[in-house]
Structure formats: C-alpha cells, structure tokens
C-alpha cells in the first residue's frame, strides 16, 4: 500500500488491521469483547487480585499465536466472571437505551408543543412561524457544522446529545448498583473516553434528538393543519414586497424540491397584512404545505442525514477501538500473556555428575596415595594457582626455607610444574598450594591438583586466600558458598578438609603468619608464655573489670577498650578496617562530620555482629555484646587516630544511638555517666573485642568458627565473682579453637 493521507489512514486503519489479523488467522474481536475485557480489568483492579483460577493464561499462551490484545480478550472470555459482567453490561446498555428512547419520545412531544406554540393564533405570522419552527435548530445546526468542519471538534458537553448521554449513564448507574454493574459502567466510560467514539456518539444522539423534535413538529403541524383553519400573513418595515417575495421564494425551494406546493408571487402579495381580504382555501393550503415541507427539508432531512453519517463514523470509531494496553490492568498482563521467549532443552542428555564421580574415584587413604617411597625428602614447596600477587608479596614470608615454584597461569606453567615435580629425585616434604577465592573452583584446576596429587601424594596443604576482597566483590554469603566449593574440590582430589586453611595473604598478621608457618613445619602454633597478647589483654580485663560495679559507665568501658587496643597496636590497620570498614585516613576525615560518625559507628556495630556465628547471633546477650564491642571498638579506633576530634564529639550519645538503631529495645542516655552497660554485657563486649583483635588476619569463616568454639561458654551468671572463671574458660576454649584451625 502506498503512502496514505492522514484522513485516509484513519479511515482505512480498522479495515487494514482486520485484514492483518485475518492474515495471521486471528479471531475477530467485537467491541463487546473488548468491553468485557475492560470490565474484567476494572473489576480486578477494584478487587485487588485476579479472577483467574486453573491456569487459563498458560492455556492461552500455549494455544494462541495472537497478539497481546487478542490474548487479553481471550482470557477475559474464558474467565467465569465474564458471564455476569456481560450480563451487567447488557443491563447498563438497556438502561442507557431506555433513557435515550425516553429522551427521543420527549423530543417528539417537545416538537409537537413547539408546533402548537408557533400556531397559537388562527392568524399566523409567516416570519414568526418560520423562526419558531426552524430558527433555533438551524442556528444549532450551523454551530455544529462550523465546529465540526472548521475546527474538527464536536461539543462533548452542553449539547443536547451530551446531556442525553450523561443522563442515560447516570440513570443506569442509579438503577444498577452492584460491583459488576459499576465495572461495566466504567468500562463503557473508558470506551467513551476515546475522542472519536465519544464525539460521534454524542453527535448521533444530538441529531437523533433534533430529528425526533422535527418529527414531533411535523406530527403537530399535520394535526393542527388537519383540525384547524389558519391564515398566514406577513408584513415588514424594512423589506419591500419584492425582497420579501424573494426570501419566501428561496425558502420555498426546499419544499418544492420534494414535490410540495409553495406560494407564488401573487399568493405572497395577497398574504400581506395590509390586504384586507380573506385568504382562499388554496392559498392557505399552499402556505401550510410550504411550512410542512420546510420542516422536512431544513429540519428533519439534514438531521437524518447527519444522524446516518454520525452513526457510520461512530461505528467506524468503534471498529477502530483498541484496548489501551498501557492501562495498568492490561500492561501487567504483558508479562504473563506475552512471554519474551520460548524455552527448549536442546541437549538434555543425562550427564553423570562428574564431580561426584571424581570423589568416588579419588578419595583415598593417605597411605594408598603416597607414591613409591622417595629417595629423599626435599624442602617444602609453594605454588600459587592462578592467584594475584597477594598483599604480603610472593612468595609469602616463611621463617623456614621454602622452594618457590611460582604462580601458575596457563598451560606452560602447568607443564613446568609437572615437569619439575616429576623429574626431581626428591619430593617436597610438603607442597603448599595457594588458591584464590576469586577463582572458580573448576574442573581445570581440579585436574591440575589431581595431577600433583598423583605425583607427590596428598602431602599437600591448600591455602585459600583473598577472602576479604572476594567478599567485598561478591558478598559475604557468596564467600561461604565459595568456601564450600573449594573444600569440596580439594576433597575430591583426596586432600581432606583439615589440610585446607583460610589465610588472607593480603592481610597477613602475626597470628596468621604463625598459622602459615605451621603448614610447613608441621607444628602447631604456640600460645605459651606470659607475653602472649591475649593473656596480657585478659589480665587487664580481669584487673579492671574486677573493680567495676553492676553498672559500668561508658567512659570506663571506653578506657578499657583503649588499653586493649594499645596491646594490639601493631595490627591497628587491620582491626581498624575490620571494625570501621575504613582506612586510618578515612577515619581521620570522617570524624569531621558527626552524621558520618554516627553512620560509621552503627556500621561497626553491625560488622561486629556479623562476625559472630549464627548460633551466637541467635542469643540476645551476644547480639548486645557484638553491637557494644563494634560501637565502642569503632570509637576506640577513631580515638587512637584522631583523639582531639573524637573528644569533641558526644561519643556516648553516638554509641547509644548506634546500638539503639540495631537493637531498638535498648535505650540510650545523653549523660555519659548514666550511659553505661550492665556488668555482664560490658565484660562480654570487651572480651569479644579482644578476641576479634587477636584473630585479625584470619578469614571471616575461620574467625566465625573460632568465636563459636570460644564463646560457647556457660556465662549466664556472669558477675564479678564469676569473672575469673569466665575469662579462663574463654582463653582455654580459644586455645582449643586455634589448635583446631592449625591442625594439618
């Protein structure tokens, strides 16, 4: 089809649409179908939920190749509610039609009354009669034509048609008040909201109303002319006789065109009021037919023609009506009825789980996998598998001699490692494989680890590093899953879990360095002697807390945390970051803004809670201790970095607000002496703070495990009398936890 003018496009659009639908073998939809769909949409909107039961949408999607509108209409058709809604629509239609018919009857009566009024006297003024019968309606018709033709607009209110429609819809709403009727009425309103439909509906009603008035006039005139005798006279101040005759002659053209009589020049002259002769019967009849014919030709006929035209255009507009798919109730159906794609399993061939196969094939006893007795045992070997260079550098620092085989990245490196391990006369006493959490534990790495195991047995230790970075990149929950996946991989290669340790080489500390060392010297880390940081810290806690009363003021608690923090000053950057998530520089800048400080303290309280294992998080007393340790720990860290700036802040208030934000049940105080904690909470918090500082450098999962073992103590009656027992108990369990972590 070539380019169409806008008008032609508008006229042809419905037909072209139907043709396209036919071409695509889609069922035709009537305006009633669409009305039902509109009503369903409205009813569902009012109801707040769908009417659908039993997978109608799935059926439609599977069966119908149609577009969204067809599917929406089809769905509406199939819903149980469509029947009552259809009945309601019919009720509303009936109500509206009834009022319209009544309106037309009233029009008839008004027309008759208008005729009676115009012929109130037996001597009728010709001019008054014409004006009375045709004046107002001709004026209205001209206004309508000018509005429509010149401006393309039809009055949507104020016209007789708009009045009639509004009255009809109001009546229908008053008569039918159920929810379904309301939905049906609103659906009708939505359809009428479309500009073309409303325009031509109102136009049709307007012309029908005027048509009925004209019909009423004709009936009235006929009855009056049959039953009464009238004389028709004229006179004029301004017009001459010939001018008046020309005017009448012009008007008479209409009646003559349909074969009715009209007065000639002599009759017009004889009908002047100044002629004092009675009119003949013929003359009267001629005048009466002219009036009758004028109402037909200038009143009824144009209205009937325009009524037909308006009805035709309305019908066309109705055919062109499409559901507005952007309306909320329809738009959401797009997601349901128009899936963006079809899914199909192309290759669903059963694939045995290769990973479980590997497990069964390779999990051996240590003895079985040891290679033939080597001629000599060489120094430990360290290999990085696809790792970035860690924060501590490569190779990581060991006190003992370690042979560094470098970082493996790609085929050439793998071949080099295999060749090195294969050709030597000595095998390493232990091989440390460093892998990065960021790397996916895939079959490629598994195959390579397997090949090493085959060469040197399971005298292998795995170090998982880069946990903090991975958690920051992917989220803490993903880290837990990644840990499980890496441990599963190593287990499949025969390396048992106790040979896998999580040490973050980006943040190596004294503790984790000992742990790393223990991997190659096969020795447990020693925690002996009075110089151990933890012992020193716990001694200070014992001495200080032993002086506390039941209520521990916050300044005292802060002071104790500060003392302990000084013991761990060598790890300051690590634990500062652990509590605040910031570098020392970041803390120094943030204390300038009290709002930021509050957010940072709240974040620290939440971080400390997150370090606790789920079992402890389930206990309110440890939640409180975690929040307190985090908040006070954060302030302690900030005090070490910017003591003057912190001193200027209402720290007790900020700590209270932070804890209250996380634990809403707790109240805060503005007075530092009133702000405080009970004895047990304070001791738990400072103990937890100490333990977190002690284990800095370990992976989060390892910290969590250590805290779980260490803090599962019987401390419900923690008081000053039970303080020493509590602290000893915690220390003892901490030693056990560390030993478990260090176990090769």
């Amino acid at each position: 089809m070539g380019r169409l003018t806008p008008i032609a496009t508008r006229l042809l659009l419905p037909a072209r649409y139907d043709a396209v639908m036919q071409e695509r073998h889609l069922p035709a939809m009537s305006i009633d179908d669409r009305l039902i769909a509109e009503a369903v949409r409205i009813a569902e909107s009012v109801r707040g939920s769908s009417f659908e039961t039993g997978g109608i949408t799935d059926q439609i999607v599977a069966e119908s190749p149609a577009d969204l509108e067809h599917r929406i209409v089809e769905r509406a058709r199939r819903l149980d509610v469509s029947e009552p809604l259809g009945a309601s629509l019919r009720d509303v239609h009936t109500g509206i039609r009834t009022v319209i018919v009544l309106g037309l009857v009233v029009g008839l009566i008004l027309g008759g009354l208008a005729a009676r009024s115009a012929l109130a006297n037996h001597v009728a003024s010709i001019f008054s009669l014409i004006a009375g019968l045709l004046g107002v309606q001709t004026l209205m018709l001209l206004i309508w034509l000018v509005g429509t033709i010149a401006f393309g607009r039809v009055a949507r209110s104020g016209s007789i048609g708009a009045l009639l429609l509004r009255g009809a819809r109001t009546f229908a709403a008053k008569v039918h008040r159920s929810r379904n009727h309301a939905a049906a009425a609103e659906a009708l309103g939505c359809v009428l909201a479309g500009p073309r439909i409303a325009k031509w509906t109102i136009a049709s009603l307007t012309h029908a109303a005027w048509g009925s008035i004209n019909l009423g006039m004709l009936v009235g005139l006929a009855l009056l002319f049959i039953g009464q005798g009238y004389e028709f006279r004229w006179d004029s101040t301004w017009l001459t006789e010939s001018q008046y005759a020309a005017l009448i002659e012009t008007i008479a053209q209409g009646p003559r065109a349909i074969g009715l009589d009209a007065p000639d020049q002599s009759a017009i002259t004889a009908s002047r009021e100044t002629i004092d002769l009675p009119q003949s019967q013929d003359m009267r009849r001629t005048w009466s037919w002219m009036f009758f014919g004028s109402v037909i030709t200038y009143g009824l006929a144009p209205r009937l023609l325009l009524l037909l035209l308006s009805l035709g255009l309305r019908q066309h507009a109705l055919r062109g009506y499409r559901l507005d798919l952007s309306r909320p109730g329809f738009a959401r159906m797009r997601a349901i009825l128009m899936p963006a794609a079809t899914h199909e399993e192309v290759d669903a061939a059963e694939r045995p789980d290769s990973r479980s196969q590997v497990i069964s094939a390779t999990v051996p006893d240590d003895d079985q996998t040891q290679p033939a007795v080597p001629e000599a045992i060489g120094p430990p070997v360290i290999i990085g598998l696809e790792v970035r260079e860690p924060g501590c550098g490569w190779p990581p620092p060991f006190n003992s001699k370690v042979s560094d085989l470098g970082i493996v990245d790609g085929r050439d490196d793998q071949q080099r490692i295999v060749s090195t391990l294969n050709t030597g006369d000595v095998i390493p006493s232990v091989t440390v494989l460093v892998v990065d959490f960021s790397n996916t534990p895939d079959r490629g790495i598994e195959r390579f680890v397997n090949s090493i195991v085959e060469m040197i047995g399971v005298r292998i230790r795995i170090v998982l590093t880069g946990g903090r970075r991975y958690a920051e990149t992917n989220g803490a929950e993903t880290l837990a899953q990644r840990t499980v996946d890496w441990r599963a991989l190593t287990q499949r290669t025969g390396i048992t879990n106790n040979r896998v340790v999580e040490i973050d080489l980006d943040y190596l500390t004294a503790t984790t360095r000992r742990l790393l060392e223990s991997l190659i010297v096969d020795a447990r880390a020693t925690h002996e002697g009075p110089t151990r940081h933890l012992d020193l810290a716990f001694k200070i806690i014992h001495n200080t807390a032993g002086q506390w009363r039941d209520h521990v003021p916050q300044p005292a608690l802060l002071a104790l945390h500060g003392e302990i923090a000084k013991i761990y000053d060598h790890k300051r950057s690590s634990w500062t970051a652990a509590f605040t998530g910031l570098t020392p520089g970041g803390i120094a800048s943030i204390v300038e803004n009290p709002e930021s400080v509050r957010d940072t303290i709240t974040g620290a309280a939440q971080r400390a809670i997150n370090m606790l294992p789920p079992t402890l998080r389930a206990k309110p007393k440890w939640m409180a201790a975690g929040a307190l340790a985090g908040a006070v720990g954060c302030v302690t860290a900030a005090t070490l970095i910017s003591p003057i700036a912190i001193a200027a802040l209402p720290t007790w208030s900020l700590i209270g607000a932070a804890i209250a934000a996380i634990l809403p049940a707790r109240s805060s105080h503005s007075d530092p002496q009133e702000a405080g904690e009970n004895f047990a909470d304070a001791v738990r918090a400072v103990s937890l703070f100490t333990l977190i500082l002690e284990v800095q450098g370990l992976e989060q999962t390892a910290i969590s495990r250590i805290l779980e073992t260490t803090l599962t103590v019987d401390d419900d009656d923690l008081s000053r009398n039970a303080l020493e027992r509590f602290l000893n108990d915690v220390k003892h369990r901490f030693d056990i936890a560390i030993a478990q972590e260090l176990q090769p």
């Binding site: 609103e186 309103g189 009428l192 798919l325 952007s326 997601a335 490196d413 079959r443 910031l582």
Partner: protein, 485 residues
C-alpha cells in the same frame, strides 16, 4: 527464515564457568526463572535454547551452554588431533567432536562447541571482576578455531574491582574489538541496545533482524515506562480522590475511619508495587527489607510515619505528620472553622486545615455535621517519590540480580521536586471527586460513571507527567551489589 521474512539468527552464549551466561539470558529474556543461577561452578549442564520475539515473531534464538571449565585441557585435546600442519582450526574442532575425549572427559565442553558450530555467532561472557588468566586466553583460542563471529560481553563492569581495561586490552590482542559491556546486575539504560549493535556490526547479513530487535526493545522500554506511569497515575488518583466521612461528634468512629483510610492507602500502594513488579517481570521477593521501605514484598516503612517523609525529604504540613493524623487531611465542612469538630478530634485539625476542601459538598456536610478525612498533599508527594523511585530501580535492575532491590536510603528521592509539585497540582481535580477512587469507601458516596471518562483523561495526563519524571531520573540508584563498603 523467521516469520515476516526476517532472517532468523542463532547465537550461542559461551564462556568460562560461573561468568554469568545464564544471568545474561535472564536479563535478555526478562525472565527471573530462566535456568539456574548460583555462585557454584557448573550450574548449567545442558544446552538450553530460547527465542527472542519481535511482535510475536521468532527472530533470535539464544542458546545457554555449559561453561568451558577446563579450557587448558580442552585445547590440549583439540590440538592433539592435529596430524597435518595444514589442518585448520575448524577441522581440528570437528575432529575433536568425533573423538573419545569429547564423549567422556570433555563431554560438557563438547556440548558447548557443538552448539557454537550450529549457530551463526557466539557471545563470549566474561566476569570482568576476575583477572585475565591463561585459561581465558585458551578459551579465546578455542573460539577462534570455531570460525564464528564472537562478541565478548564484559559482565559485572559496574563492580569496583572490574578489570575492564585489562580485558579490553587482552581481547584487542586477539582482534576482538567489538566488545560489549553488560552488567547483568546493575543494568545500564542502553546496555542491551549496545550489545545488539555490537552483534549487528559482525553480522551484516542479519541487519534487518537486529534492527527490528533493537527497535522492538526500544519500544518495549517506552511502553514499560508508560505502563508503569499509568499504574502510578491510577494509584495517585485513587488516593487523591479517596475521602471518608465521619461524624464530628463520634470520636471512636472518627479514629476508626482514619485507621481504615490509612489501611486502605497502604493496601493500594502495596497493590501498585506488586503490579509494578509484575509489569517489569520481577518477583515479589525481589525486594530488600531495608533501608528502602519495602519488606519482603511489602512496603516496610509506614507510609504515614514522619521518618518515611524525612527519608524522602518530603516536608509535611505542620502537624500533619504527628500522631494519629499523620498524613491525613481533614476537610472541615463548617466554613473553615473547627467548631464542634475541635472537640471531636483535637488540635490536630487546626494544623491540617486548608490543605484542600471540597466546596461542592461543603453545605451538605455542614448540615449533617460531618467532616471528610483524606490523604494530605505531603503524603501524596511521598507516594510519588517512592513509586517513581521503585520504577527507576526496576528499570535498571537485571533479571539475574539475586539481591533484593535496595534503593537509595537516607537521602532524598531521585525524582525532581519541581516535577512532583507540578504533578500534585495536576491531581487537584481528583480531590473533589470521591467517586473516582477505586478504593472501597464506606461513606456511601456512589460512583458516577458519567465522570469516568474525565477520570481517564486525567489519568492519561498524570501518567504522561510521571513518564516524564521517570525518563528524567537518570541518576544511578545504589544497588546492593554496588555497595562495597
């Protein structure tokens, strides 16, 4: 050929394991349920096909494939088949597919390679957060052997650890310059179009198909914004028009009606949020508990709390956000004087006077001694801010994102204030039309269908304004996945 004479294109989605291939498809398909997505490797073990539609016509088939887990071993296995130095890459790959290792050790990779050969092109999905490793270089070599156009897709580029430049550099070394960036979690507005355009540059024979797809996706986005705007407009008119009438002298009744009004508004807002989720093809569970006021599919922060208004920087009228009257306006039908109403509901009335009365009903209610309660302007402003923020977040959310939606917290809305103010003005006609509200009311005001078309016209106007607001909101929202500290 596809329907409508557009040449049908097949594309394989390939890459190392766990790089987000299935996630990419979820977003392209707008289907949160497509395939399985997890942090563990080897989640996808079979080739799964799907087809993108344009006006119901199938135009582009996409095939999700298992990851290339052991590309080093695979390349070894492929190159072992080389018997003659003249054997080209494609012949090597075909020989490999007939080998025993393709049926056993590299069965998973063989499925992927077979699918690439059956397609016209491949999208090579890269996790840009990971470093370029030797195994990735081997993957690129294997893809080169397959002799199909490959568009590398850098995923997770919004992450602060993304090594986008390193990857681009590596890809350039193997002559791959048409690189697409497509974060399946934090979706850039035009990322999808850019991806299709990159495919278009390599596949000129499928130009009509790709152009049709691009056009369709643009239209779809525009329709989505408009439909979202209509949903919000409907909610706003429902709530603007909602008014409940209480007897001045009956204090118990007054507080009961106010509670009912609040509950109605909360339910309406929740319903709109659910509709928006459905519209954007997300699940109700795609919400976070905090700090956005949505909690597991429910709005978490009370709409009527002063905190909620502060959260969005919306200023309520004095006293309007206090106590039981928070967010509600009383239309006192006694000529602006509280008179008997003061005894009934206390001083809060004075604070809320003048926020919009219903003159047409004034006289009638004066005679009857009643007051009308409805939602105030500040709360409407808050509603606009929250709903437009939600739409904005959903538009930028990938269907692979497993973290719940988490909008900007503690700061103001993304929506421009002046536009919200204009929108509130547009809503004025609804204040005097209680019959326009779909929210059930017990004050006995019958709905007049005669004004439905006027409501529809207002809704269209309001929706148009909201669509403009949404289009203007181009500041990226803070998604959980982007928060690194």
């Amino acid at each position: 050929m596809s329907d409508g004479d557009l040449p049908k294109l097949s594309i394989a989605i390939v890459g190392h394991t766990n790089t987000g291939k299935t996630s990419l498809l979820r977003t392209l398909l707008r289907d949160v349920n497509f395939g399985d997505v997890s942090a563990s490797p080897g989640t996808t073990q079979a080739v799964v096909g799907c087809t993108l539609l344009v006006d119901g016509r199938k135009v582009v088939s996409l095939f999700d494939t298992p990851g290339l887990e052991d590309s080093i071993g695979l390349l070894d296995a492929i190159e072992q088949a080389r018997t003659d130095h003249r054997t080209d890459g494609l012949q090597l790959v075909e020989q490999f597919l007939h080998s025993d290792s393709a049926k056993e050790e590299f069965q998973q990779e063989a499925k992927t390679i077979r699918q690439i050969l059956q397609c016209e092109a491949a999208l090579y999905v890269i996790d840009a957060r990971e470093a370029v490793l030797g195994k990735n270089r081997d993957e690129l070599r294997i893809l080169a052997y397959c002799g199909r156009p490959v568009v590398p897709v850098l995923n997770f580029v919004a992450n602060k650890y993304a090594q986008t430049d390193e990857w681009r550099d590596q890809l350039a070394r193997v002559n791959m310059h048409a690189v697409a960036e497509f974060d399946t979690v934090a979706l850039e507005t035009d990322a999808e179009i850019h991806l299709f355009e990159k495919v278009l540059t390599l596949l000129d024979a499928y130009r009509p198909t790709m152009l049709a797809l691009i056009e369709s996706r643009k239209n779809e986005r525009a329709e989505l914004i408009l439909a979202s705007a209509h949903t919000i407009a409907d909610l706003l008119i429902d709530i603007s028009a909602l008014a409940m009438t209480v007897q001045v002298a009956d204090q118990d009744h007054t507080s009961g009606v106010m509670d009912q009004l609040k509950d109605s508004v909360r339910s309406a807002e929740q319903y709109a949020a659910t509709q928006l989720l459905e519209l954007h093809r997300f699940r109700e569970s795609d919400f976070s508990a905090r700090p956005i006021p949505i909690d597991d599919g429910k709005w978490g922060i009370d709409l009527f709390s002063s905190e909620a208004m502060q959260e969005y920087g919306v200023r309520g009228s004095a006293g309007a956000a206090a106590g039981a009257m928070a967010g509600l306006t009383l239309d006192i039908m006694l000529g602006g004087l509280s008179l008997g109403a003061g005894a009934a509901i206390g001083a809060a009335i004075g604070a809320t006077l003048g926020a919009g009365r219903l003159p047409g009903l004034q006289l009638l209610d004066k005679v009857r001694g009643r007051i009308r309660v409805r939602v105030d302007i500040a709360t409407l402003g808050l509603l606009i801010a929250r709903q437009t923020d939600l739409v904005h977040a959903l538009l930028r959310r990938g269907h692979a994102d497993r973290e719940p939606v988490n909008l900007r917290g503690g700061t103001s809305t993304n929506a421009p204030r002046d536009k919200i103010a204009q929108l509130l003005k547009q809503l004025r006609p609804a204040f005097a039309k209680p019959e326009w509200s779909h929210i059930p009311s017990d004050d006995g005001v019958p709905r007049q269908p005669g004004s439905v078309d006027r409501r529809e016209r207002l809704a269209a106007k309001v929706a148009d304004s909201i669509a403009h607001i949404i289009n203007d909101m181009d500041t990226p929202f803070d998604s959980v996945s982007q928060q690194s500290d």
